[in-house]
Symmetry: C2
Subunit: 625 residues, 2 copies
């Protein structure tokens, strides 16, 4: 007598595999888990990093690197088909410079269950790693720095060039990845001219919702490539400030062959609300509110947080900070010298009741309705020290990120249940975007006066609207480059545009726990399927000689139907399984277990669909004895 | 020698079960699957209906029915904590009348994977079934009629009272559930006074985005209960039309003890955009557009669809209808006599190229970015007869439903990729809501002049804002009832308010394939867990005497890691499993397989977490031989 196992065979053999060959170097890193994962917090104290190096995929299209000294190449590797995962490459015959290394958050709507982040594809850069002279980071938001821990080694750990606050934010994140090599950080400032390899770059200051944001002019043989980074204009009633006029006026004096600019708000017309007006409104609210004021905002809104603290000091109010990212960023802001806080301004939350209500301002994370963030805990009476009441006012000083609408609705409902007053960015100007509207974008375009223009940073619709706006303002349509991720754009002699037919690899990379890799279709598809209908594992032992079942088969099912109420269904299924196995093995010698398995899968799937209108993943395990 | 199976034991025994006793009558029905399920279409041609009748949960709080003739009771059973699943009950000593039986759509953000719809809980009504005199339906939208097929039998198949168009929509849906008993349909019209049991109701016409919408006055001993249904006001610059003034003026002449009104847009101030302005704008666009015009809208926007067809006839344009729900609703509109279409106006899509582009208007479903709807197929070049080009214009004549933002973004991106022009409700007034803003709501409230007021139909924040608006306009705060689902409100003598401490059962009911039942926490939680991290089934055969494994254990894993690239991990896992089994059975006689299973689960879960930062569902199956 012998035992033989089929069906539950080594997993790669399962029928759903449509795997592709391992490609690219793989590297894992630990990162804070995205929103979708928030529901199941797990210890992050000391997981080891996974390093997996596999050979690069030999099948991918190889685009020859630039060798012609008269050619400059630009490749948007991420960020032109989405808001997030920004990365641009500029290549000359001698050098490759990389601009930003962001990631994209995954929301429920992305339908990529279990995935933490999405990264730009860096295979083109990996293939030409020896030409990489540096990674330039425009500012400290995660859609521009979030990919660094996952991508640096793939890029050969190039030196990073950025301004001080951004450098602190990058280094702070690196602390979470202690196994990675130390970052080679170079601080730069507007006004400098910095050599990377043989190429000079000139940073210039831009207005964004985080200090130390910069754009960059890259000097190439026939003129400059101007990269905006994320930005808006500081303006009053549509008239850009003196500083903006000077900065952009100076850029305009150069010969600019290409302008690459932020499209995030290009679908909106005119000029965006100036942050100054938001500051004035917030100051007025802090001044006039009767009870406690709880401000929900993004930790990344540095300018606003520092402004709120300054107002509180002026008005003799105490500040409570809630949420790790806000505490961290306030520390960073102090370290960077952009925030000086008096000794007693920020008080521990435990002392909140030692002060009259109208002297308390709480700055809190969680304005997107994140389940475990401070604001939601306050709203749902889970907070240890802050009990909301009718005299409290909540100010939601942030917009709703697409995909978070229902979470924010839930947050608002809970806040209203406590009887609190809510001031929302839709009802008052208590939030302003960090991205310019089309009026601002057109103005900048005029100033830069480039030969070619590539709208970037945004979904395709935003990029199109940016192009339409600029075109309408007189920019020649044929000189506008509408790019997808991976588009390879060569400019020769500063005048000839050559767009390659082959694109750089663009398959998205995902961070999935410690695994960093190409989109793993098989895994994601299985997760989607399991999420919809669950699974149904059949375990049957049969006499390998006669094909008779040795006992009634066992069933393991999860996520399919509520089993306690489905005993009749399970019992019918067992009978069907027995009949199917014994019928399909009749007169079969020797017994082909794979054939029996296929029969079982088909029969049971059909039965369950017909009875429940669900198609759980049916997995038969046959044990021949 | 004997074989023994543990671990994969009968599924209900699994450790995650936190089942509750079966409760309530269960009934299954086939319905179109919600958006979340769109990705995997399955045949719906002829599935049988499941009828499961189980005993009601004996543990639920029993609220005594009304016996005092001076008391009238109101229970909002659904729709006051969400937009959707609307259902209200009005009860006197003699009768229960039910108003609406809607469902709520499930979006990705609801985090209820695999669930088709959410229904109101009807247990209170089931317990008092013999008092139910009728189900009154205010209008034909799914958040008011969608629950009918799933709930009618639970309610004892009461007669339905509604207007003609609504009746056609209900009957059309019933066709999909051929096993259900025939509906006992009574047509009503404004101006009538209809007796249900001993209670009279008076329907009145209201303005909404679908014709034949009505509100209802319920005559009770001490005065009327006025139920608004969904509505807005027909108005010009904030002055309600003559018809509105007459309708609401008439209602105001009655003694109204309670007004229950729509809160959906109560967070918005002033008056909503009148549909008339939208009609004017759409007419102007249809008139002036140069190429083809493709209008994406909701099939439920009857008024708009009929208006568009009328304009096309006036301008000599041909209409192509795309999407089953639009075709169905146009048929229903014709049958209801609210739309007369000339013989050749609507042409088959195959003939679209027989006419000049500027004579073609397409009315299409899919403005929410639904994956398989007509508009998305057109946008992604999947449509057999409509190839988009630069001369085409798309008008998205609908707002974005919260939770659909990324789908709509994807749709827009794809439309822009085809070079088409897009006119969006945000950039022009080509869509208007069916729900009044707070200015309209306050006006109606003044007209009705009730003693008590209950804002309904909306999320809690909307209900609160409705209450605040009415209060600010002078309504006494103490007479406003802020309800949650299941709140039991008794009004005695028309003046005394008595809100019960016990609520009617509110646990949500779900449609999950053919299963209709209370929220099945175990199943949903398993699906969420499987979606995040997948599963990891271990199958090991061991010598039940010695505890030694008979061979290397087998592993079935789905949705966890990409197995082709994880052979080292699997191999380590097998070694760990072997060691764990043999160590934990050492000196154990007889072998306790459940103990070994627990050891395995803990050890393997910890190992996988530490190596991958994922926690798949680990299920050990031990086969003792």
């Amino acid at each position: 007598m012998y035992a033989r196992l089929a069906g539950g065979a080594p997993a790669p053999a399962h029928g759903r595999s449509e795997g592709r060959p391992a490609n690219g170097e793989r590297r894992g890193g630990r990162g804070p888990r995205g929103r979708a994962q928030a529901r199941r917090p797990r210890s992050m104290t000391n997981p080891p990093l996974q390093h997996r190096d596999t050979v690069a995929n030999p099948d991918i299209a190889v685009i020859p690197p630039v060798t012609d000294p008269d050619v400059v190449r630009v490749i948007p590797l991420g960020g032109v088909e989405e808001v997030g995962k920004n990365m641009l490459a500029v290549e000359t015959a001698d050098d490759i410079l990389i601009f930003d290394a962001g990631f994209q958050f995954v929301s429920e709507e992305n339908d990529a269950p279990g995935i933490n982040y999405i990264l730009p594809n860096t295979q083109y850069l990996e293939q030409n790693r020896d030409k990489i002279r540096g990674l330039v980071i425009t500012h400290g938001h995660l859609d521009h720095i979030g990919g660094i821990p996952f991508l640096m080694e793939r890029l050969g750990n190039p030196p990073i060039y950025t301004r001080y606050l951004t450098s602190l934010m990058i280094l702070k994140r690196q602390e979470e990845f202690p196994h990675l090599p130390k970052v080679n950080m170079h601080l730069v400032e507007p006004g400098q001219r910095i050599k990377l390899g043989t190429t000079y770059i000139k940073p210039f200051p831009v207005t964004h919702s985080i200090p130390d944001s910069m754009g960059i002019s890259v000097e190439t043989k026939y003129g400059n490539i101007v990269i905006s980074g994320d930005l808006k204009l500081d303006h009053e009633d549509g008239v850009p400030s003196k500083t903006e006029q000077e900065v952009w006026g100076t850029i305009g004096k150069d010969n600019n062959i290409l302008f690459i600019a932020d499209s995030t708000n290009a679908e909106k017309t005119g000029f965006s609300i100036p942050e100054m007006r938001v500051h004035t409104n917030i100051e007025e609210i802090i001044r006039s509110v009767k009870g406690r004021l709880i401000i929900g905002t993004f930790a990344s809104q540095f300018a606003r947080m520092t402004h709120i603290i300054a107002i509180c000091e002026k008005l003799g109010k105490k500040v409570v900070t809630e949420g790790r990212s806000i505490k961290t960023n306030i520390e960073i802001a102090q370290k960077a010298g952009i925030l000086t806080v008096q000794k007693d301004t920020i008080i521990p939350v435990q002392e909140i009741d030692n002060y009259p209500a109208d002297r308390i301002v709480v700055i809190s994370t969680g304005a997107q309705g994140e389940e475990f963030a401070a604001l939601m805990r306050i709203a749902t009476k889970q907070h240890k020290f802050i009990a909301l009441g009718e005299r409290d006012t909540i100010m939601l000083s942030s917009s709703v990120i697409p995909g978070n609408e229902l979470s924010v609705q839930k947050l608002k409902d809970n806040l209203y249940r406590r009887g609190a007053q809510i001031i929302h960015y839709r009802s008052s100007d208590v939030h302003s975007t960090g991205h310019g509207n089309s009026g601002e974008l057109v103005w900048m375009n005029h100033q830069v006066h480039p030969r070619f223009f590539m709208p970037a940073y945004g979904y395709h619709s935003m990029i199109r609207c940016h192009a339409y706006a600029v075109e309408e303002a007189g920019f020649p349509k044929e000189n506008i480059i509408i790019a997808d991720n991976g588009l390879v754009v060569d400019i020769k002699n500063g005048t000839e545009l050559n767009i390659h037919k082959e694109k750089a690899p663009t398959e998205i990379m995902m961070v999935d726990g410690f695994t960093v890799g190409m989109r793993q279709e098989v895994v994601i598809r299985d997760r989607q399927s399991l999420a919809q209908d669950g699974m149904f594992v059949i375990i049957a032992t049969l006499n390998i000689k006669t094909g008779k079942l040795r006992k009634s088969p066992d069933i393991i099912s999860r996520g399919f139907v509520y089993l306690r109420e489905s005993q009749a269904l399970l019992s019918e299924a067992r009978t069907l399984i027995k009949r199917t196995v014994e019928k399909s093995t009749e007169n079969m010698q020797p017994i082909n277990l794979d054939f029996v398995k296929d029969q079982l899968t088909d029969t049971v799937t059909g039965f369950l669909l017909q009875r429940t209108n669900k198609t759980p993943m049916v997995i038969p395990v046959l044990i021949g004895i």
